[in-house]
Subunit: 332 residues, 2 copies
Amino acid sequence: MDSRRITILDVAKEAGVSIASVSRFLNNPTSLRKENREKIAQVVKKLDYHPLLHAQKLAGGKLNTFGLIIPGYEGIFYSFYALEMIRGLGSALERKDIDLHINIFWNKDNFKNSLVDGVIFADIINNRAQLLRLLKQGTQVVVINRKVSDIEVSFVGVDNFKGAYEATDFLIKHGHKIIAHLAGDLKVQCAQERLNGYKEALKDNNIDVNNKYIKVANFSRVLARNGMEELFSLQKLPTAVFCSSDEMAEEVLHFAREKDIEVPGRLSIVGFDDNPRCAYDNFSLTTVRQPIAKMTSIAVDILDDLINNKDASIRRIVLTPELIIRDTVAFL
Amino acid sequence: MDSRRITILDVAKEAGVSIASVSRFLNNPTSLRKENREKIAQVVKKLDYHPLLHAQKLAGGKLNTFGLIIPGYEGIFYSFYALEMIRGLGSALERKDIDLHINIFWNKDNFKNSLVDGVIFADIINNRAQLLRLLKQGTQVVVINRKVSDIEVSFVGVDNFKGAYEATDFLIKHGHKIIAHLAGDLKVQCAQERLNGYKEALKDNNIDVNNKYIKVANFSRVLARNGMEELFSLQKLPTAVFCSSDEMAEEVLHFAREKDIEVPGRLSIVGFDDNPRCAYDNFSLTTVRQPIAKMTSIAVDILDDLINNKDASIRRIVLTPELIIRDTVAFL
DNA sequence: CTGAAAGCGCTAACAA
DNA sequence: TTGTTAGCGCTTTCAG
């Protein structure tokens, strides 16, 4: 008994057709006569035949597999963002029956692009060179969550500036004058944009930007906590804080609870992300919702298009986030 | 100008050697004369040549890529365990210069095993069929964190029973009689084993197992919280609680802090995992350490062996967890 | 609608 | 140490 792998030839023989027909069955079944199609289907099932993907690809076929490259910064997996990104992509791809290979970029560019049809970057952090390499090698790419203006590449991002501006403006409209900001890691574009949006909103409302009230907490709970400690040892306490992520906002909530600072009575809080966990915590957090599912779904469509239509061209899309008003902001 | 892909033939021509020599250069450089080796190296660099992996694999080569299949249960990415697993594998593989493709099993078996040399399963939850399929197709596999006794497959696991037994016994030796247990999702083998270890320790010390003190909290913070609420509305309060994960233990800590229950004075706590976050929280958690890095490193070695040595056989390894004594257990 | 045949880019005998 | 050559399993013209 020969335990060789079942190949297309085995199927062809058993079904009494040529390997070309079996190949057609695999890729374009409707081009076969019903009779043959059914016969082949039956044999494929009987023999439990699965085409070898690398053989298909070598012969010019597709792998139906996208790669997702995630920058492997510390705590990435604790971030709501990364999880949602993966889930969003997962469901967008499921519809098209495309598989996803996740690769985490821990400072080493070992991504095998020849094993995928195209690549999605979840942001670019310290891996511009990798992006350039893939592009140069002719890989189709789309970047999510970062607007890459100096490289010819498709992206779908979010207007973080606008989201932050609106959040801050919302606080100002509620009478707040001393508004602190817990910023994310400024290496990350969205964190920088949110900081800018925050500043701009203050300026537009004639409130001075005071760096004492800006704490760069790198999206980390611990640093957010430290930032709050510092903020609450200042002469004039902030009456509101805008956080660059819901997780940091959650930490602010914990801080407030421990210190018996009433929310939103004495401290108003706005987050960023719309992490569902924060909607059902003790407090229901006012926040800025990022349309992650939409971003991923669009990214998948663009990439699919880029791969399958020779004349598809680069597309760049910026979505608008939405302020979700819940319970953590009060009038002063 | 022809933008065809650079192939092995281009390199061969340019270097004035045969494609076989280039192939040797790629796979076994020392078999070449120094002169040629250097010449080829130079051309490879100049032409920026990268062999096509699927072509290599089709021709019988290796991809130097392992797959990691993670069961995609809710909240997986919030679990310390999953992150450590990925990190551990990442560094173990980096040493061998093997790439990792992560695949999350959301109830759909679409993993492309022909794109990897071997596969590591991070536990088996609802995906036994997938494991069987890969095995049947001749893929080399090793399972981490689950002792699969009824399938002929390698695994490396942890003696959860023993860890839980020791943790519980440690509490008993400190005089505790009413010891609650927050169990994990009992679909997960380790959760079940920990529950059993807990029960056995009680029995061996002539303490009755009382189901009222066992709350199945599925590794979830919310359910852990609910469990604690229930436990603390009982007639006789527990004086200690053994948690099936550090995350749940952390929630217990929060619960205690809010309710002004002194730890460890009025409530002793033991976790499971040794999540560093819980060592530097307000309390330094007594816990059971899982040697995840070791597990992953062994798993990689086994898989590598299975792939490269024809006569390598299935190996099954069970590691022993270690009780880490810190500050959350007191004598009664 | 179907089959024959020419590769896809690479590895690994086999010879030299 | 090197080159020649026969595939690996599949897709895709091109005829029929």
